[in-house]
Every structure is written in structure tokens, then in C-alpha cells.
Amino acid sequence: MEVSRDVSVWEKIIKNSLDIICALDQNGCYTKVNEACKNILGYSQEEMIGQSLRCFIHPDDLDRTLLVANDVIKGQKINNFENRYIHKAGHEVYMMWSGAWLKEDGVVICVGRDITEQKKARQKNELHQAIVEHGVDMLAMLDQELNYLHSEGSIHRQMGYTNEQLIGTNALNYIHPDDISLATDLLSKILTSSSYIKVPDYRFKNAKGEWRWIETTISNQLNNPEVRALVANSRDVTERIETRLKLRESEQRFKSLFENHLDIVLFQDREGIIIDANATTLSFFGVEKEEILNHPFSYFLTPEVIPICDKALRDALNGEWVRYEATIPFEGKGTYTFDIAKIPVVVNGSAIGVYSILRDVTEIHQYNKTIRRQAEKLNNIMESITDAFFTLDKNWIFTYVNSEFDRILHTNREQLIGKSIWDIFPEELNGEFHRHYSEALETGKSAHFEAYLKHLDVWLQVKAFPSEEGLSVYFDDVTEKVKSRLELERLSLVASKITNGVVITDADGLIEWVNEGFVALTGYTLPEVAGKAPVSFLTGEETDKIVLERFIEKRMQSKPFHEEMLNYKKSGEKIWLLLEVTPVLNEAGKVSRFITIQSDISYRKEVEESQLQLTKDLFNQNRDLQQFTYIVSHNLRSPVANAMGLVDILSMISKDSAEFNTSLNFLRKSVNQLDTVLRDLNMILSIRDKRDTIDRESIPLALVCQQAISDLSEPLHACGAEVKMGIDESINVQGDKAYIYSIFHNLLSNAIKYRASGRSLVVNIECMSNTGTGTTISLSDNGSGFDTESAGDKVFKLYKRFHANSDGRGIGLFLVKTHLDAMGGHIEVTSEVNVGTRFLIYFK
């Protein structure tokens, strides 16, 4: 009974146990199970008994469970074995088992407790612990003054502070001075708030003294009775901040590089639209940024360069780096040359756009062009040097040879370059050229010399200039000059022995040499006259210009000639020279110099001069004689002929006839006329004889003129004439008083004689000019005048008359002229028929 009662108690215990108590057979099938299964696993006792445990255990734990079950069957007791069951509702149920094998019954009895709650709580705790220990967040509790009350989490690992070190200290002690104000601002904010506040990045000192960037979220839990603190959840964001700073810096660097790039830099998208452009771009195009952005780059280009730029853009968009040079004309700006680089920006394997860098190389291009041009020019200059020219390097190798070199030395310059001068002219090695060139190279001083090149029979005048590179040499063929100089030396030797003047000039007539005879004749020495043309200093004022011109002209004809010329010695003394000029011709038949032999012919010239004067005098006398002959034949013969005729008539008629008397009167008249002519002739001849011996005294013109007027007052008065005498009394002339009187007397008589019939005579006498060289008097009337054109110069000739029906003899004007001639003056006349006549009288 007791046992039975016991059994009943046990049954009750089992029945009310909160744990599962069950029995399993060898095959793992439940044979007994208490009611707890319903509560724990959701299955009823009936649903479980007879079923294998496999049906209820979490598949993941099954194998492990079977192994343990096996061990139990073998007699091993097991405690605290944990596994998971699947609740009838589907969720996991954590179980802890203890079990034992009952050999006699052949069953395994097990007690299983539902440990799901404990398990989950433990898991949560472990998770929390793991998060706190291994997470990134640092947790702290602070009082309202920010003193640490507690800390946990990664703060130790990350900042190096233990909880103990922090507690009691103030958080502000760890914050960077620059960030303190930020922290205190936020503190005041959080104290009045009950929610979160996020503290942005600030710097926090770690245990090593390094500044770390921290981001903190603070929750005001001061009023939470469970907490009573500010809860700070912080995270070390140093890396993020630094990354961000670095990124910003790198961006800044790029931006700066882009913006401040001295070249034009712009970014185009795939369509070629300008997305960004730097300052240089804007200043180059002279536009604002808005004006250039969102335009295709081709907008700024002329049509002809668009295809080039488009192609470059396409190539760049294909991922290539493109580099090219383009000459682009811009409207109103001129043409620029750019070195252009196009760099694609590749994102995820495809180009999203292209950076273009345009470097203005216009100037460099220009420089290059200039350099090229100058090089060409230099070459032209070298070629155009009329001298032969060549350059040698320091090893005597020809580096340049011009065409004149070839011409003089009969070489082919292309074959000379690169060869040694002494290989080309081996016979000159150690010769004169070699000596001079070597010396120039050694001393660095230029060499000027003349030397003979034997194998070509030429004399060369050489200028050699040493330089860093070697030697620059100019030379000229002076064979002719040298030979001509040698000849001149020989010529001079001969000429020096001659007493005549000998002048040797070059082809241009410039003196090369004169002999002692020249020095004796002219007074000039060789050094004074060398290089000058003889005519430039030997001729003078009285040298006949025509002779001089003829001399120069004859010299052009390259034939010997002679000329007589008045020259001047150095002393200024005149000397007549006979110049015998002989040109010396060179082989080509051209004049190389002139040899002039001077002979003094002054004496002969003097004789010739006096002969010439004599001839001139004789000629004049002869001319006068001829004139007299004519006068005699006409004017002297005329009254004689009349007398003869009258005598004939008288002999033929009666003495008593009226005609006899008439004839006799005419005879008297004729004889008187004859007498007048003879007297005229006598007077004229006497004036002529006196010409060289007249007394030259100072004559007051006005006085003499007045005298003539008053002597003619009677006839003047008779015809009602008026004479206006305007000569100033101060005017005197040099001459003979009687002649001057005669001049006025004759001219006034003529004025009366030839006055116009219809009007009363007016005579004007005035002085036109009175200077040192002479005095001019005008005497004009309003008389009948004469035809100046037909009368010409005959008016002043003897017995020429120009008025019909007047008693003029034609001697008055002749006398006036003769008188003036005798005093060295002269007279001119202008006249118009029926208007008047004007005489201009020049007194010397």
C-alpha cells in the first residue's frame, strides 16, 4: 500500500511536473510522456506516445541528440544536454535534458526542461555584451556638468581610457579647445531638451594625446529616475572625417588646378557641350561663364576647324588620350595655334566627358617660324656674300663653302664638305695660308693677309676669323689688283725720272701716284693728292668749263688724247697745262689706269692770249672800217653825186632861167651837206680815239640834264613842250660831262623832232635805279614813236632814220650810243607808233 501510495504520489508528481518526463524505447519512440508536453511542445500525450523523437527534434540538433541517446542506451547517464524541439506551432523550443537507461525496462527515461526563456535572455545578454565590447560605439553617462558618471563600450579600446580613469573627470577636458564652444553651446541646448541631440564632428583627445574626430548623440535622461544622467553615445569618425577632408582637399586641389590653369581648360560632355571652363578660357574668349557654359565648343570655332576638333572629341570619348596641334582663327582675335590635349573622364568603364587643355603655342610657333626664317636668311646671307666664304672646324674640315669659293677656285663645294682643307689643297700644307690659319686658331686673333695660290696662279686677299667652332674665312681674288700694283711700281720707276708732271690715276681717275715733276709744277705732294681726282683741286674759277667737260668725256673713250687747260697751283697761281692722257688697258681691254703727262704751256698761252686780243682789236677796227666804207659810199657819196648832177644841169641850162637859181641853191645845200658829213665823221672818230683816255670824273646828272633842257628851251617852248625832270640832285655818275650833255641833248632833240602832231609834247626824265653797279635813267616821251620790231637794233646806227619827211640826219642816236660806249654804259629803247618812245640809259 505504501508503495502503491508512493506510486500514486510519484504519478501525481510526474503528472504535475512542469518539466517533460518521458520514456523512450530502444528505437527512440516515446513510450511514456507526462502532460507537460502539451504545455511545452504543444503536443498531447497521445500525439507523442508511439512517435519517434525524430519527429519533434530540430533537424539541426537531431544527429547530436541521437549520438547522446546512443551513449545513454549504453548505460551512460546524461545531464544538462541541450537541444531544440519544434513546437507544434512551429517555433523553436530550447530544452535541457537529463536521462538514464533502465536496463530492466529497456527504456530511457528523460526529464526535459523548457529553457527557452533562459536561453533567449542569455543570448540577448551575450549579444549586448558583444555589441558593447566589440561594437564601435562608446557609451558614457554624464552629469549635467558633463562629468563622467560611467563609461562602457569600446571607449577603452578606442580611446585607451578605462572606466575608472574617466569617472569623475569632465568631458570638456578631453575636447579640443577650438571645439569647446561648440560643446558648451550644445550642452545648454540639451539641458533644456528631453530628446536627442546630435553633436557633429569634434576633436577628442585620446589617452596617447592624439586628437580623434568624434560624433556623439546625447540623450537627456536626467529626469529619468532609472538613469539620472546624460547618456552619450559616441563614435570615432576620425577616418571618415579624414577621408572627407582628404577628398575635399583633393577636390580643392583639382579645382584649383583647373581654375588657375594658365592654359584654357574646359570640360565637355559626350555631346561636346561645355560643362565647365576655367578662368583662362573666359579671359581668352572675353566672355562671362554663363555665356560659354551649355554651348558646344564648336560654337566658338570657324567652320574649317570644326571637323578636326570633333574628331579629336570622338577619339577622346573612345577612351583615348588625344594630343594634337591646331591653328584656329578666331573672329576679331586673329589666328592662334594651340597644343591641345583631350583627356577622357572614365566612370564605370565609359567616358562621361572630356577635359580639353588648350595651350597657346602661337608665339612658340612664331618663334619657330622666325628661327626657321632666320636660318634661311643666314643661309642666304652666307650665299650672298660676294666674297668667297668658307668655314672650317677645328680639325680643318670644311663645314660650309659658298658658291663664290667654287667660282674662284674651280671646286665643287658639295665634294668639299666634310673633308680636310689640306686634303683638297695638299700643296698648301705648311704654306702661307696654313701658317696664317694656324696662327689665327692658336691666338684667337683674326688674320688679314694676301697670298699667292700657286697652282691656280691667283692672288687672294684673305680675312680669317677664328671662333668657338673653328675658322670663318672670307677671300677675294685680287690677282688683277696685285698685278696692277706691281706694274704701277714699275711705271712709277720710269716716270720718276721725267721733269714733266706725271700723274697716274686709277680707272676712276683717282690719283695713285705723281712724280717729282708734278710736285714741282703744282706744289702739291703725293700724300696730299693720293685718292683724289686731279680736276677736283687743280681746276678753278677761270678754267674753261667746256674744256673741262670735254676732258672728262674724252677720258671715257679709252683712247689717248690731249687737252690744254688752265689749272691752279697750290699757291693759287694760274698755270696753263698741256695734259696728254694715255689710258692703260688690261688684258680684257678695259681701262685699268690713266697716265697723264703735264707740260707747262703758260708762256705759249700768254703769247696766244695777246695775239687773240690783237686779233679782236683788228677785227673791231676792220668792222669799223667797213662801216665807214659804207658811210662813205652812201652818205658821203650822196651829196657829192648831187653836186655832180647839179653841175651837169647848170651846164645845160641858161643862167637866167629859174631852174638855174634853184640848181645853184641845191648845189650849195649839197656842198654844205658834204661838209656836215665830214664834220660828223671827224667828231665820231675823235670820240672813238678818246675812248680809252676820257676823263672819268663824278658828274652830277641832274645838273647836266638841266643844262641840256635849258639850252633847248627855245624849241621846247616853241612847240609847247613840257619836260618833267625827276633826277635827284644827289645822283652822280662817273663819266665825261660833254658826253653826258650830248646824250641828253640828242635825246631831247629827237623828242622835239619826232613829237606827235596832235598833242603837245611831254617828256619824263627820271632815275630808275642808282646802285653801286650803275645808274639807270629813263627818258620817255609821248611822241610819234616808231615800230620797234622793224627798226630793231638799227636805231642806234649811223645815218639810219626812221621817220619820213623829217630833217633828221640819222646821227643823233648813233652819237648817244657812241658816247655811252665810250663811258662803258649802254642804252635800250622801246617804242610804239603814235604812243611814244622810252629810252633806258645805263651809266656805269
Partner: protein
Amino acid sequence: MKVFVVDDEEVSLFITKRLVVFGGLAAEKDVHTFLSAADALSTLTGCSDEALPGLVLLDLSMPVMDGWHFLDVLATLRPAIREKCRIYILTSSLASSDQHRAAHNSMLSGLIHKPISLESISMLIAAGGAGVDAVEREDLV
């Protein structure tokens, strides 16, 4: 025969006229004298062929228009006058240059020196041929 005498000297004209009449070359009424060449020229160029003289005696040395000038103008204005009328220079000049010049002037028939001699007048009559009037000549004598 009608005779023109051109001379600027009254004495010369008187002498020539008297001698021409004495010599029987022309009747006194037929001797026309001119004191200026211009007057003679205007008469000679202005008259009809019938009114032209058979002979002109021309002095050389005259003012305004001399004998040579007279001939030049006449040759221009009435060149055909040579066929109707003979022109002689009557000059006192003995200059050979005048003689030479006269010989080469186609307007002239000759040169006579002053004073005109009876021989010269006879020559003029002979040369004039038909122009000589015997009756007049007798009158003169």
C-alpha cells in the same frame, strides 16, 4: 614813157627829173616823183596795168622803208609788175655789196649810180625800145 622816181631827197628828185627830161627819156609831165617809198608802193600796187609806168628809178637809202624793203613788198604784192615795168636802182652808193645784191634781185633790171648820166639815159632808152617817144625827145632838145 611814164617814169616813177622814188627818192627821199628833194635835191636828188630835182636832179633826176631834170636829167631824165634832158636826156629824152620822158616828158616832164610823165616823170612822177615820190619822196617816200611807201607813197610809191601804194600807187604802184593800187593802179591798173595801163596806168603802170614803164620805168621806176629807185633810191636805196631812205628812212622807214628803204629800196630793198620796197622791192620785197612789191614782189609780194604785185609780182607780175616786172612784165610791164622795168625797175632800176638809182643810188649814190658805190658799195659793191649793193651792186652784188642788185644783180641777184629778180625784180630789178639794173643799177645806175647817181647822178644819172646821159649815157645811162641812152641805155635806158635803148633797153626800153618801144617806150621811147621820138617826138618827146625832140621836144626836149
